[in-house]
Amino acid sequence: MAILEVKDLKTYFHTRNGIVRAVDGVSFSVERGETLGIVGESGSGKSVSCYSLMGLIPQPPGRIESGQAILDGEIDLLNCSEKALQGIRGKKISMIFQDPMTSLNPYLRVSTQLIEALRIHERLTKKEALARAIKALEEVGITEASTRIQFYPHEFSGGMRQRVMIAMAMITHPEILIADEPTTALDVTVQAQILELIKERQKANNSAVILITHDLGVVAGMCDRINVMYAGKIVESGTADDIFKRAQHPYTIALQRSIPSLGSKGSPLYTIPGLPPDLSKPIPGDAFAMREGIKSGGKWDQTPPPLVQVSDTHWVRESDVILPTLEEVLDVR
């Protein structure tokens, strides 16, 4: 049975410019120990869906309009008490964020922040918790952990801070780790190390990982399965093989075309024309077809296209978008 089962999640934001449908009917599941990647542009809803699971959406103006998120077959994260959620956060589901510079409390020592989750969730004594915290730091590759644990966050470099975040998240051996763009704010050289570290810690704890990113490259080496999101909906879902070798949705294909390849130096880059959609306006049909510079057959302009199963593992949302060729993209530019 899946460790997390999300059904028809809808999260809207009620702003003075209108209702922004950030997540508009998203369903997915996560198996124990597997890595699920959620890929999409800014505004696709990838982060908001996971924040909704954790109850981190500011309400107001946000509101979880509908949906279920069953954790371990027992509790519905979207319909339980705040107290219950507090017990789950940091214990069963942990989260790490994009910017390690700002995600750690600058006024508290690293030791305090590391042992906090242990003291709250496992009721350890300070001494016990400290010992575990030091060990956790060593596990993420920080040397001289027993001295450095007393440092303040600003005394660590960016990459090390992200390691501390990972240690902090994994210290309670959570069932799921949600990583929201964990490498986006880091140097390229450090990115690979952090991803490796996440993979390694995941195996050691047998946790599932939900990796949120806009970068297909990050997803390629890490994920067992991938959900591609656009305009608050999942447009394609499958194993890494499915997505990279047998992509069917035009958006997924366009994303892959846009990855600059190391070989073709000097050749023009493919870009997806137009801009992400304005989610405050209702979108009756295929959001990707509505994008400026994108042509389509018009079949799904007014009707929401359904998700269609292509194989055991592979699902695609119907779309009759015709992607522009490289020449057409260059012309517009």
Binding site: T15, V20, S47, E181, T184, L275, P276, S280
Partner: protein, 307 residues
């Protein structure tokens, strides 16, 4: 990464770099947005109209009044408000209504002029420091820091006590105190603007220095200057009234709200109207100025703490 979703296409673009790009997307510019926010701020709007009323009351009023603020009438001393003297009379029989009006003229006048003076000095000083940068900037701001640390009210009182009390000295002293804050703020704003990406973008697009200063730096500094000018006026008025209350400011028979309040305080046990009426006008004006300034600050700063 913040949780807020993208609201409109225009917000995902670079902030406006030139007029041409503005017109392509139908987003709202910074000024329109600010005006929008200000309009919604009821307190700020009410304050604005109160201030308009005060300006008319104080500057036009004395011309309409049948009395002069200096006319003594020893047969009509210390009268409570009634038809012929709607605000009553003081201990020399002078009409309080007229005196409150003229007092307002003085207080507001000092407020505006002294603010203008401190603005001139402060903006020039701050902008120069920020623009020149480097060691000169550091030295200039050091000077400001040292001055800031000195206990100013004490010096002000000393100066006003020891030397000839003239309105000129009053202006000099008040201006000397207030320009420091304005200099700091302007410098901070110019510095942060210098480093902002849209200025770098403009530079890389080849815009001339003059164009950058006129189109990008000044409008952004203007906002901050307007806000703090609006907030400096009440600060100046407080200082002037404080001095007048202690007998060190404007000299009789010239009234200011501060000296009127002092007179009222001296007589308040038997004649409370002498205290309460000027106090009311003074406080209402301060209140409105502060609210308007606050409203302007919230309107111009997208990251205001109210949201």
């Amino acid at each position: 990464m913040s949780v807020e979703p993208k609201l409109s296409p225009s917000e995902s673009r670079l902030p406006d770099v030139s007029v041409d790009l503005d017109n392509i997307e139908s987003g709202t510019s910074l000024w329109q947005d600010a005006w929008h926010r200000l309009r919604k701020n009821h307190m700020a709007l009410i304050s604005f109209w109160i201030l308009v009323f005060m300006a008319v009351f104080c500057f036009v009023g004395p011309f309409i009044s049948p009395y002069d603020h200096r006319d003594n009438d020893l047969e009509q001393t210390l009268l409570s408000p009634h038809l012929q003297h709607p605000f009553g009379t003081d201990d020399l029989g002078r009409d309080q209504l007229t005196r409150v009006m003229v007092g307002g003229r003085v207080s507001l006048g000092v407020g505006i002029i002294a603010t203008a003076v401190s603005l001139l000095i402060g903006v020039t000083y701050g902008a120069t420091a920020a623009y020149v940068g480097g060691k000169t900037d550091a030295a200039m701001m050091r000077f400001v820091d040292v001055l800031y640390a000195l206990p100013f009210t004490i010096f002000v009182i000393l100066l006003m006590t020891l030397f000839e009390r003239s309105i000129v000295l009053l202006f000099v002293v008040i201006g000397a105190v207030e320009w420091l804050t304005m200099a700091r703020i302007v410098r901070g704003q110019v510095l942060s603007l210098k480093e902002q990406e849209f200025v770098e973008a403009a530079v890389s697009l080849g815009y001339s220095t003059r164009r950058i200063i006129l189109r990008h730096i000044i409008p952004n500094v203007l906002g901050v200057v307007v806000v703090y000018a609006t907030l400096t006026i009440p600060s100046v008025m407080l200082l002037e009234s404080f001095l007048s209350f202690l007998g060190l400011g404007v000299q009789p028979p010239m009234p200011s709200w501060g000296s009127l309040i002092k007179l009222g305080a001296d007589n308040m046990i038997l004649f409370p109207h002498l205290l309460l009426i000027p106090a009311f006008f003074f406080s209402l004006t301060l209140f409105s100025l502060n609210f308007l300034g606050d409203g302007l600050r919230d309107a111009l700063d997208p990251k205001s703490s109210k949201d």
